[in-house]
């Protein structure tokens, strides 16, 4: 059973009713019950469509953070063959909040990397909830340079509430590590496709999001600061997070309008967590399209295009 979000109460009730009816009828489904189930299922589908068709920014945050939303390893499992994880920054340690390695996407060797949040208490702790330390960002630099040396396209999957704010992380240069990762994204002379699959939280997300193509899931979010953080600074109370979520313009639709992302990847009705396989398939199609689009462009040109794209960020009048 999936975890319901607070705004999904009517959906949860309806799903409960359908389940009850099914259990009630057991193996032998009478015509009248099956009719009723059918009627309720149509109603549920409409309810999901309606609800998810007009999610508020705050509700999108909740969906983007949904514990059952597919995470890095789910995508890699489904999309990458011969996946060969690579570890370590060759300086201090291996960060488990950012994973990456070699593998094949549709047969083509690539390097894939991204934030992994974990899916239960044990794995969440292991992956530090997807909040990377400097070693994570130094690993991404290493992998990007490796990709460049062997002319492999790079795919990043971004899903983090932000870089980890801790003593060790600061001691080891969190900000420098993020800056270098952003810089590596800008400079590598291979195709770079960045996918905001869940939460794109601040500098910790930017470090992996400076691509030739930036794709974003329909209900993912991408922001300079979390709405809670923004609210506690500007409204002086985290209770105003909903207002901050609106003000920050962090939905995929907003970001496309602002020229920050290139493509919105549609999610299954009711969000990626309701049908991970379908979501993964949609992501796969978008990555494939982006790779194809970039395949004929030589490396130096790809770098130049990336520079031009990000040099222009904020230069246009947005009306």
């Amino acid at each position: 059973m999936i975890t319901f979000l607070d705004f999904e109460k009517p959906i949860a009730e309806l799903e409960g009713k359908i389940r009850e009816l099914r259990e009630l009828s057991g193996a032998e489904i009478t015509v009248s019950i099956s009719d009723e189930v059918g009627r309720l299922e149509t109603k549920l589908d409409k309810m999901l469509r309606d609800t998810y068709g007009r999610l508020s920014p705050w509700q999108k945050i909740q969906v983007a953070r949904h514990p059952e939303r597919p995470h890095f390893l789910d995508y890699v499992d489904a999309l990458i063959t011969d996946y060969t994880p690579l570890a370590g920054d060759r300086a201090f340690s291996d960060d488990h909040a950012i994973l990456g390695g070699l593998g094949r996407f549709k047969g083509q060797p690539v390097i894939i990397m991204g934030h992994e949040k974990g899916h239960d208490t044990e794995t969440r702790l292991k992956h530090n909830f997807g909040m990377a330390r400097p070693e994570g960002y130094r690993k991404t630099v290493r992998l990007m340079h490796l990709a460049e040396r062997f002319s492999l396209p790079v795919i990043t999957l971004v899903d983090t509430s932000g870089a980890y704010p801790g003593i060790g992380a600061e001691e080891r240069g969190q900000s420098e590590a993020i800056a270098r990762s952003t810089e590596a994204c800008l400079n590598i002379e291979v195709p770079l496709i960045c996918c905001i699959v869940g939460e794109g939280g601040s500098g910790g997300a930017v470090a992996l999001s400076v691509g030739n193509k930036v794709l974003m899931f329909e209900h993912a979010v991408y922001s300079v600061i979390s709405p809670e953080g923004c609210a506690s600074i500007l409204w002086r109370t985290a209770d105003k997070a909903k207002d901050a979520a609106v003000a920050l313009k962090l939905t995929a639709e907003d970001l496309q309008r602002l020229g920050i992302i290139d493509e919105i990847i549609p999610e299954p009705v009711g969000g990626a967590h309701r049908d991970p396989a379908l979501a993964i398939e949609a992501l796969s199609r978008s990555i494939e399209g982006a790779l194809e689009e970039l395949s004929g462009i030589d490396g130096a040109k790809l770098r130049k295009l990336r520079h031009a794209k990000f040099l222009a960020m904020g230069a246009a009048n947005l009306g």
């Binding site: 240069g173 400076v210 300079v224 920050l248 990000f310 904020g314």
Partner: protein, 292 residues
């Protein structure tokens, strides 16, 4: 100290009131609490003569102290769209901008001057903490890029004095995009073979450190400056313990290898000049002329 506050202060206040002079005749040091004669404090570049505390200073004072005879030209920076998100918290962002502009007399938080330091032409950018905490939005990003382009045009070294709480939240994702934007500009300097020197001043945190502030060829920090990615309060709330004394201060960063040196304000100019002349052909040629 008690003697001063209890006895001298009331008397002084009375004198001030009578003469109707501004109440900033004396400055109370934020480091040690000592009262310093304002003129003396100004002459000492806002550094306490007693404890060496470096107070925040604005672009005008920087330029005066750095450029030969204080002479320089302000670089005109591009005008950018104000308040692109129509952001509003308890107050409208457009009103906050208006306030900051009338308070500082400046358009935004980055000011760029072109002039000579010991005869060498340089482009110097200063982030003004007094303008919305120095925060980086589109205007700061655009100003940074323009300053870099000017340095390339003049084939001059580029020096930036950073000071910011981070990205300007009121510009949302557009402020976050200034991280890669300014990083492209830093790479343009590299390609042009020009020195890029970062002077980190109090405070430099958030998105600014996660981009151009940590990508310099040489990093200099002023003594005691707060420098880091996450703010101390955010870290304390996350780890639920008190941070050690001196954490995220310049000296801590030096110890951890994130800056090359910690240099007191009155030694900054000579240090910068030495670095630039070691890193540039012009500087080397000048030294040759000196030697001959």
């Amino acid at each position: 100290m008690n003697w001063l506050t209890n006895y001298v202060r009331p008397k002084l206040k009375a004198v001030l009131r009578k003469k109707d002079t501004p109440d900033n005749l004396w400055h109370k040091c934020k480091g040690c609490g000592q009262l310093i004669f304002h003129k003396e404090f100004l002459a000492n570049q806002f550094v306490c003569g007693n404890c060496g505390h470096h107070d925040r200073i604005g672009p005008a004072e920087r330029f005066k102290a750095l450029f030969d005879d204080g002479e320089h030209e302000r670089l005109e920076l591009p005008k950018v769209q104000d308040d692109p998100l129509k952001f509003r918290d308890q107050k409208k962002y457009s009103d906050r901008l208006k306030d900051a502009r009338s308070k500082t007399g400046e358009q935004d938080a980055l000011i760029v001057g072109v002039g000579r330091m010991d005869g060498i032409e340089v482009v110097v950018a200063v982030q003004n903490f007094f303008f919305m905490g120095g925060s980086m939005g589109i205007a700061v990003g655009a100003g940074f890029v323009t300053a870099v382009e000017k340095a390339i045009e003049l084939h001059a070294p580029f020096i930036i004095f950073t000071a910011a709480g981070g990205a300007r939240m009121q510009e949302g994702i557009l402020s976050l995009m200034q991280l890669p934007r300014t990083t492209v500009a830093v790479n343009m300097l590299r390609e042009a073979g020009l020195p890029y020197i970062v002077v980190l001043t109090d405070p430099t945190t958030g998105g600014v450190t996660a981009s151009y502030a940590m990508l310099g060829d040489v990093h200099i920090a002023e003594p005691g400056a707060l420098i880091g990615f996450a703010g101390p309060r955010v870290i304390e709330n996350t780890i639920r313990e008190k941070l050690p004394e001196g954490f995220q201060r310049s000296e801590f960063l030096l110890e951890h290898g994130m800056v090359d040196m910690v240099i007191p304000r009155h030694e900054l100019k000579e240090t910068l000049v030495r670095l630039i002349s070691l890193l540039t052909r012009d500087g080397a040629a000048r030294e040759d002329r000196r030697a001959s």
